[in-house]
């Protein structure tokens, strides 16, 4: 896998769903977690991580090859995807 993608999401958030859908449609593998579906310490840890990465409480938080994109923003996803000629610099 040349691209590493992780999606922090909320199960209630349509743009999180659309983000996952976009990666599905683009046939790019990713890992994802619905933070609100975790419990206890796991939830706190994932939420804290997402808040730390994004500097806020907005979802989705998408980490592509180490670069953070906050929000559903395909143009920015593409910028960081090596399989699309992005990433690095």
């Amino acid at each position: 896998m040349i691209d590493e993608v992780f999606v922090y999401a909320l199960s209630t958030c349509p743009w999180c769903r659309k983000t996952k859908q976009w990666f599905d449609d683009s046939r790019i593998e990713y890992e994802a977690v619905d933070v609100d579906k975790l419990s206890g310490d796991e939830q706190d840890a994932a939420a804290d991580k997402a808040y730390e990465l994004s500097g806020g409480r907005r979802f989705p938080v998408v980490v592509i090859n180490g670069e953070v994109v906050v929000g559903y923003n395909p143009d920015k996803f593409l910028q960081h995807l090596r399989s699309w000629g992005g990433g690095g610099g």
Binding site: L10, T12, C13, P14, W15, C16, V35, D36, A47, A50, Y51, S54, G55, G56, R57, R58, F59, V70, G71, Y72, N73, D75
Partner: protein, 108 residues
């Protein structure tokens, strides 16, 4: 039990809040329905229609700023996007909500 009656009352209550702020419900009816459905469930579970697209912290002062409609507390950012973070509300002149991307407050 159907959530439709509560969705209708949130629609009515929120319309009165967002109009004076220069916003309206997005013309994307499916998105409105999905978001209101999520808010009704959050209200049933947690006691308030929290934002479906922002995470709570457990600190009241912070969490009250993401009860819908949260526009008064994030106005400069939402005005820059011409939509609220979830896209439930858009500026009054917006007819094509899909053209408005989400970006965080420090970017444009």
């Amino acid at each position: 039990m159907s959530n439709e009656p509560r969705k209708e009352s949130l629609r009515y209550l929120f319309e009165r809040v967002v109009t004076p702020l220069g916003y309206k419900f997005t013309p994307d009816a499916e998105l409105v329905d999905e978001l209101l459905e999520a808010e009704v469930k959050l209200e049933q579970d947690l006691g308030a229609p929290y934002c479906p697209c922002q995470g709570r912290s457990g600190v009241r002062e912070e969490d009250m700023k993401i009860v819908c409609p949260c526009i008064p507390f994030h106005r400069a950012h939402f005005d820059a996007m011409k939509r609220c973070w979830c896209g439930l509300f858009v500026h009054l002149d917006v007819t094509d909500p899909d053209s408005l991307p989400q970006f965080p407050p420090d970017e444009d």
